[in-house]
């Protein structure tokens, strides 16, 4: 365009007039702006923070931010303090009391009552109680449970007793290992729990025999051992605890284990509470299970170790099952 105008010098130059007009209109436009009230504008752009603003802020109001961090638009996240109080003031001491109390109670029981001995001498004849599959699943879940329990307890409690006595490097290495072991083995534990529930569900429906077994306190009340089928009432309770509490632990653990799905901080707090409470309940109950299955009852562990129990043991603890097996096996 310019080139065209230059090639015709005689012609008027409208662009020049336009430029001049722009130049002269500059002060004019500045004058027009000054008509606005600067004080009014300042009040508008800096409205000041009202008491309402702070009330909103401490109640967790959200705004807009350029940060992509999860929850970054929340000025003050109020739920964190509640979670901290729950975890540090209730779950931590509560869990310690539950676990310690269970241990003390079991020790007291052992000292007072002692091991439940076989009432009659061993017959030497063995009955298969747990198949290879049963035992595989049991020990798979049991070993993972112990590993997860130790690493989980480390995460909850170790800073109170291990951290002060270990050099920082050893402490850091252990805690890193604990967290990773816990997080990677957790899903494998979940698979084992599900397999266990599926495999043993059919044995675990309560019946009238179990009611009588409970009324007799599993043999604590009264002299004679109460009748029991393949599984007694106590074993069935432990099974249903694994179903309810165990699956809660597993499900909440999976939510915590995969933060890649973008769970909010509030979701994680909730599931951390659920996971901790359920795990501690399960741990305390497991102490009872482990005691009864090993130290507490003569001849119980060999069933899960070898798969076979002595007939004397079967007759004493699971008389109905014994009769059933013998009835079936006898010609």
């Amino acid at each position: 365009m310019n080139a065209l105008w230059i090639s015709h010098p005689g012609q008027s130059k409208p662009w020049l007039y336009l430029l001049l007009l722009c130049l002269f209109s500059l002060p004019l436009s500045a004058w027009g702006q000054s008509a606005a009230d600067p004080r009014r504008e300042a009040l508008q752009s800096m409205p000041g923070t009202t008491p309402d603003f702070w009330r909103d802020a401490v109640e967790g109001v959200t705004g807009r931010t350029t940060s992509r961090s999860p929850g970054a638009d929340t000025l003050i996240m109020t739920e964190g303090e509640r979670w901290r109080q729950l975890r540090n003031q209730w779950i931590s001491p509560g869990g310690a009391i539950a676990l310690g109390g269970t241990l003390v109670a079991l020790l007291g029981f052992y000292l007072l009552v002692g091991q439940i001995k076989l009432a009659h001498p061993r017959s030497g004849r063995k009955i298969e109680r747990w198949t290879r599959w049963d035992r595989t699943i049991h020990w798979y879940v049991a070993s993972l449970f112990i590993i997860l329990g130790l690493t989980g307890l480390s995460i909850l409690y170790a800073k109170w007793f291990l951290q002060p006595i270990l050099p920082t490097s050893v402490w850091a290495a252990w805690m890193n290992a604990a967290k990773n072991i816990h997080n990677y083995l957790g899903p494998l534990f979940a698979l084992g729990v599900v397999a266990m529930i599926v495999k043993w569900l059919k044995h675990n429906f309560f019946n009238l025999t179990d009611l009588k077994w409970f009324l007799r306190g599993g043999g604590i009340i009264g002299k004679a051992h109460p009748s029991a089928g393949y599984l007694n009432g106590g074993e069935k309770v432990w099974f249903w605890m694994i179903v309810l509490v165990g699956l809660t632990v597993v499900a909440s653990g999976l939510v915590l284990d995969f933060p890649n799905f973008g769970q909010s901080r509030e979701t994680m707090q909730l599931f951390l509470v659920i996971h901790a409470v359920a795990s501690l309940i399960l741990l305390a109950a497991s102490f009872g299970h482990i005691y009864i299955g090993t130290l507490g009852t003569e001849g119980a562990l060999e069933g899960m170790k070898t798969g076979y129990v002595d007939e004397t043991w079967a007759k004493q603890h699971h008389d109905l099952w014994y009769a059933e097996v013998k009835g079936k096996d006898l010609p």
Binding site: D37, P38, R39, R40, A42, L43, Q44, M46, P47, G48, T49, T50, P51, F53, D56, A57, G63, R64, T65, T66, S67, R68, S69, P70, A72, T74, L75, I76, M77, T78, G80, E81, W83, R84, R87, N88, S154, I155, L156, A158, K159, Q163, T168, W171, A172, M175, N176, A178, K179, N183, Y184, L256, D257, F258, P259, N260, G262, R265, M268, L272
Partner: protein, 214 residues
């Protein structure tokens, strides 16, 4: 002994994100990690919009420290809350407890793989004797050089103040005196009509740095 504090004067913050950029530049944080952020409330609503810059507030009773399973946090003599990345296991508990969203993680991976937590150090580095390693892991240690955090030093409106709590409080108190608002620090827009003219003048005064005036 100084007790270090941040204070963001929300009546001055103009949401320029200069503090965010200054922090990122001073500390060369990992990709995706932003130790400081500006939150704007009532964004775009004329007469209501307020911005405030947030990072670790170096709490006196720090929730992160209280819930950390590895006890990797420690308070310094200056009242700062710093942490040891070697002991950090990336469990995320500090983030779940912190009211200000200060702890950041480089990853959000499956099996809780988050990497080492990173947060504002008040430009005071971390527990590492080798300065090169310290800068790599924790960012700048400006405090050792007698400097304040870069976010506050570079704040264009001096909304973000950092330093000894007493000094910061004195500066802020002086501002409040100059503003002369009925609610001292925090003004209220919805006043009676008669007061509005006076408030408008006071708000206009804010355009100047009160501390620079005679």
């Amino acid at each position: 002994m100084a007790r270090m504090k941040f204070l963001c004067d929300s009546e001055r913050c103009i949401e320029c994100n200069g503090c965010v950029t200054a922090c990122k530049n001073a500390n060369e944080t990992e990709w995706g990690i932003q130790r400081r952020r500006v939150v704007t409330l009532d964004d775009g609503e004329i007469g209501k919009e307020v911005s405030i810059s947030v990072a670790c507030m170096h709490c006196s009773d720090a929730p992160c420290m209280a819930v950390c399973p590895t006890d990797c946090f420690y308070p310094t003599e200056d009242g700062l809350i710093l942490h040891n990345k070697d002991a950090c296991i990336g469990c995320g508990y500090c983030l779940y407890a912190c009211p200000f969203g200060a702890p950041q993680f480089p990853k959000q991976g499956a099996f809780g793989a988050r990497g080492k937590m990173d947060k504002c150090t008040f430009c005071a580095g971390g527990p590492e004797s080798d300065p090169v390693l310290e800068e790599q892991k924790y960012g700048a240690n400006r405090l050792r050089e007698g400097k304040l955090p870069l976010c506050a030093e570079m704040c264009s409106t001096k909304a973000l103040l950092a330093g000894d709590a007493q000094e910061v409080a004195d500066i802020f108190r002086e501002r409040v005196v100059y503003r002369g608002h009925r609610n001292s620090a925090w003004s209220a827009v919805e006043h009676e009509a008669a007061e509005n003219e006076q408030l408008a003048q006071q708000a206009a005064d804010l355009a100047y740095d009160a501390t620079q005036r005679a």
